[in-house]
């Protein structure tokens, strides 16, 4: 048998590798890359789906930056993201710490907290629509029982955004909690014992040993939660439709309104790219900050 020279073998291997990943590559190119680039192109045009797109350059971006509704939507989105991410991580951390002991029915608790994550957001939003009902909902029943006159969760401009925040936290808590729990369980017992032997109390152990060891998980969870929060749409679409008075209009919902209610595709695409730049910027910021607060053994 003739021996094949090494260079040819390597080339053959590479050729085969390329052929084998070609289906995946084509899929990503056609369904991910092409639409993303097309969207960039559309953001530089004006199109209402019925005619042909008309080139307008950066006009969509300029109009957006000059629109007062844009600043309102941005502020509300940032508010929503900040509130839901902080509450979510805080609660998830507390629950993960509480579940990180050899307690009975640990699997049951984990399932219970994770259940909202695997439920469809549509079902969850409809359920919470009933929970938030000002007359018959259990939430207001509880509040009225405590003496307060009751809150119109979805129709009061002051509370509507908080209603969406709570729904979002409820939905994603389990996911964050599971990741943090896994991170907690990966902390070597030896470190915690060493801290105990040195006389550290519970709070000191938590602050000086647990949190730093948990920082890689916290870093992961904060990026995921942030990206997810910026993309909030279903809850707003189902519960408040951006109202009342545009108080719950967040970026992705406004994008939907522009694209499919006003048929302004150029503007909607421009919004999508602004969102892309924001998320990219925040992620890069987090990567840069990583070196300063994430500890690796």
């Amino acid at each position: 048998m003739k021996t094949v020279p090494a260079a040819t073998r390597a080339r053959d291997d590479r050729a085969w590798a390329f052929v084998l990943i070609l289906p995946s590559l084509l899929g990503i190119a056609v369904f991910n890359l092409l639409p993303t680039l097309a969207s960039l192109g559309l953001s530089l045009t004006q199109w209402n789906l019925l005619g042909t797109p008309r080139w307008v350059g950066l006009a969509n971006y300029q109009e957006l930056l000059a629109d007062p509704l844009f600043s309102q939507v941005m502020v509300q989105t940032l508010w929503f993201v900040g509130a839901s991410v902080l509450i979510e991580i805080g609660l998830a951390l507390a629950i993960a710490v509480a579940l990180n002991r050899r307690i009975r029915l640990l699997a049951l608790w984990r399932t219970a907290y994770f259940l909202p994550v695997v439920t469809s957001m549509v079902a969850g939003a409809i359920l919470w629509g009933w929970v938030y009902d000002p007359h018959h909902g259990p939430l207001n029943a509880l509040i009225k029982g405590l003496g307060h006159p009751g809150i119109n969760w979805l129709s009061d401009p002051a509370w509507a955004l908080w209603a969406i925040v709570f729904l979002s936290v409820w939905k994603n808590l389990g996911y964050t909690m599971i990741l943090l729990l896994a991170g907690l369980q990966a902390i070597p017992e030896s470190l915690l014992e060493a801290a105990r032997t040195d006389g550290a109390n519970v709070w000191q152990t938590f602050r000086r040993v647990t949190l730093p060891m948990l920082s890689p998980s916290l870093f992961l969870v904060s990026i995921l939660s942030l990206i997810h929060a910026f993309q909030a749409f279903d809850s707003v679409y189902l519960l408040t439709q951006g109202g009342p008075n545009d108080q719950t209009n967040v970026l992705v919902y406004w994008l939907y309104q522009n694209a499919f209610l006003y048929y302004n595709i150029g503007r909607a695409s421009a919004l999508a790219y602004i969102l892309f730049v924001i998320i990219l910027g925040l992620t890069l910021l987090q990567w840069w900050l990583r070196k300063r607060w994430v500890v690796y053994e």
Binding site: G129, W130, P134, N152, P244, N245, L261, Y262
Partner: protein, 384 residues
């Protein structure tokens, strides 16, 4: 090898695109059942023209936009007078004049509703207007005369006697379809005839809008948003919580099974008379259609006497044809005499959103019409 080739050729023949028409429509299941029967009749009469029905029960116009954008424009499109200008303006629909249609059998308002910039783009199926449904038992319980030939003052005067705990006199819906009767009957108007300016800022219009808002917040005759909770006005009427309910013909089949006696009356009379909308829906042919003559056969059949009779028999609609018997009651037909079709600009979707947002503080009782309308009128004028 030859056999394989023959099979492949046969398959290729089967795969060739068939001549046929696509028809897009909205509608409840019952409506679509009736339509399917009509299409079965058509198939018997024209076996060479297969018709594929595209039923879009929800978000119809959004999906239609997307079908058009992706190059799959249906051949025959069911549309209404609110959205017709959008599609006509962008060249999606064919001018019916090329088929030389006969309009004598239709109510003139129906044909007018299908006209944009002088050209008729669709053959009408039905006329739609608003009447006042009332809960007869509630009126009798409170000793209030039935609301026939009422004026706006009567609504206020008698309405106060119809109110109770968790019970209101009249329905409230913030959508334009439902406040236009108040606007028109109050002597106001939405757009000028050229659709270049809004007439909402005129004193009569402002007063009319304020009257509607007052029903909720000054006289407490209509439930506020919070009082309504999650229920729709139709549900509230069916639950017996509303004495009167402004709605169209489409509520009749759903209300057949109500536990109380109800009737219909004409919309109350204001300073401008008793004026409600006279909207119409009809079938248009798209410009992208490859077989316009076949499509014309289909549209003629759908708007023809036998099909219209089937639709009218279901009780859901007022037929646009004059030669189809309609047993729905004089109230609907009389309202047609003074009815106006709503005229919308080609960018109606954006204009409607601006109007809805601008009027929202008024419907919530936070501002008065005089405060809200001037800024809104400026914004709408910019869009027009």
């Amino acid at each position: 090898m030859r056999r394989l080739l023959c099979c492949l050729l046969l398959l290729a023949g089967c795969a060739a695109p068939q001549k046929g028409l696509t028809l897009a429509t909205w509608g409840s299941l019952e409506e679509v059942e009736t339509l399917k029967q009509v299409l079965a009749d058509f198939r018997r009469a024209h076996p060479a023209v297969p018709v594929e029905l595209i039923h879009i029960p929800d978000n119809y116009f959004q999906k239609l936009h997307l079908l058009i954008a992706s190059g799959n424009t249906p051949d025959v499109i069911f549309t209404n007078n609110w959205q017709l200008p959008v599609y006509a303006e962008h060249g999606v629909l064919r001018d019916m004049a090329q088929f030389q249609p006969e309009f004598s059998h239709f109510h003139p308002q129906a044909v007018e509703a299908m006209r944009y910039r002088g050209k008729v783009y669709a053959l009408p199926r039905d006329l739609s207007n608003l009447v006042l449904y009332y809960n007869q038992e509630r009126f009798q319980d409170r000793g209030v005369p039935l609301p026939h030939h009422w004026r706006f003052d009567d609504v206020i005067r008698y309405g106060k006697q119809l109110v109770g705990a968790e019970q209101w006199a009249i329905s409230f819906d913030p959508r334009p379809l439902f406040w236009l009767p108040y606007l028109w009957s109050g002597g106001g108007e939405l757009f000028d005839s050229e659709l270049t300016r809004t007439r909402l800022a005129e004193p009569a219009s402002v007063a009319a809008l304020q009257f509607y808002a007052d029903l909720r917040h000054k006289h407490h005759l209509a439930p506020s948003l919070i009082e309504q909770g999650g229920a729709t006005p139709a549900q509230l009427f069916a639950q017996g919580k509303l004495a009167m309910f402004v709605s169209g013909r489409w509520s009749v089949p759903a209300f057949q099974k109500l536990p109380f006696k109800w009737g219909v009356a004409a919309f109350p009379e204001g300073p401008g008379g008793s004026v409600v909308d006279a909207d119409a829906s009809g079938w248009a042919i798209s410009r992208a259609c490859q077989d316009p003559d076949d499509a014309w056969q289909l549209v003629q059949f759908l708007a023809g006497k036998s099909a219209a009779s089937r639709f009218a028999a279901s009780g859901l609609i007022i037929p646009a044809r004059r030669d189809v018997p309609f047993e729905g009651g004089d109230v609907f037909v009389k309202a047609l005499a003074t009815g106006r079709p709503i005229r919308t600009p080609a960018n109606w979707n954006e204009v409607q959103q601006a109007i809805d947002k601008g009027l929202e503080p008024l419907w919530r009782g936070e501002k008065s019409a005089a405060e809200v309308v001037p800024a809104l009128a400026k914004r709408v004028d910019l869009l027009l």
